[in-house]
Amino acid sequence: MTEEAAAPAIRDLLRDAVPRVLSAVTRRCGDFAAAEDAVQEALLAAHVEWPKSGTPANASGWLYRVACRRVADLLNSEVARRRREQAAAGARATETEPPLADDEVEAMAGDETLLLLFMCCHPTLTPPSAIALTLRAVSGLTTAEIASAFLVPEATMAQRISRAKQTISESGVRFAPPDAAERSKRLDLVLHVLYLMFNEGYVSTSDLRLVRVELSSEAIRLVRVLHRLEPEHPEVAGLLALLLLTDARRPARTGPDGEMIPLHEQDRALWDRAAIEEGTALLMAAFARGAVGSYQLQAAIAALHDEAPSVAATDWPQILALYGLLASMSDNPMVALNRVVAAAMVHGPTTGLERLRTLEADPRLARHHRIAAVRAHLLEMSGDFAAAITAYRAAAAATASLAERHYLVTKAATLEQRRAAT
């Protein structure tokens, strides 16, 4: 049996235990990188042992003991290596605190998870590195599982994670909560990394993966944990709502062969009502706290789509107003582009096409395929099929998504057929 095929019950148990165990081991040895390696090895040992000998009564305690033994080996060999190299005397102590009892590890609070998230979503890391490290250190996934989720070789992923840890230790950050001034900034960064983790899972279209970890579901699970720890933070709730309201459409957004189905062609009966209700309730509660942020606004837009029985019956004026608010908060060209689409739905395609022309002057968008795709859509709405066909083809030639290219090429061919028929 490969480790990827571990029973879901074991995987759930590991996900739950790993943050606590890693925090405990890090505190004991004072070295996050070594502790993280040791916990990964304990986790691999669990994947091999538990299916054979049964799951231990205290999973965290089991992992903690195995990881502590391993970390001692790691640090001892490190000390030996340093001695051989006659490096600076006084190598780091191997144990800074006495070991915890099994039930103490089990009882560690969720703040440890938050601390780990701060550590993994570190400002010196690139988003892909931060996501990978979070999946290993907080989610308790194996390097092989993370590699398969990113479709890269395992050795590449192992190297990426070890470099990320090296970057963190070189930054001199301590395994301690950031101060109040720093905290809010760091929390924003954690939210951003989890948002990107969700997107990574949402856009990846490979249908060749036989075993794969769902990055989107894992991102939702982590934001849920975060929401439990920070229940009053409106943007944490906003992000959880946004992810739930977006993920609710997952069953409808691709066809049986992985082909892309855009919002206006989706079978809305397939949308996950429970996720929509949960997301909407979260959003209402967050709005009631008064500090409106961009995740809440995006969630509100997603909620309006999710509640609408059809594209025509969607509350477009409200969506347009929300995009206006979003645009006033951030200079994001994609927000500006979506605002144009909403304006076209409210005021008609001619208005949309006019506003699109001003956006085309933005160098960040000038060669972006989404501009051509939106233009194609608006031209189709206006009945100018010939120009729409040209724009669909231009968008198809420019996109880097194979599923989207297929969709756009088919769209052009379908319009061509309709044009020939008239």
Partner: protein
Amino acid sequence: MKFMLMMQGTRKNWESMYEWAPAEIKAHIEFMKGFARELAQAGELVLAEGLDLPTNAKIVTGKGGPPVITDGPFAESKEFLAGFWIVDVPTPERAIEIAGAASAAPGPGGKPLGIPIEIRQVMSGPPDIP
């Protein structure tokens, strides 16, 4: 032994797809997806990727200092790599068989396209037995 199967394309071929009916495009895409899935299920597929069109391509050369970038578009007749498969198969004959099947992907009217597929063996490390 591993082989890289490279599908060649030209801008003319890409544009000829403009004449296809939606159902023909659909059949072609389904063929390609099914083809990769079968290779994966047979345990022969290492990697398969489709590439961005050469309209977005750049050619980069470096001689120390900042790299020199040549932007497309390149000549219409210029052949480019449209996508590739890397397969791990027991014999070169099997690689040829796979390439032949890929080449016969359906086009207009369901007729085989005869896409040129270049086969190159992926070089190995030093031989185990001298």
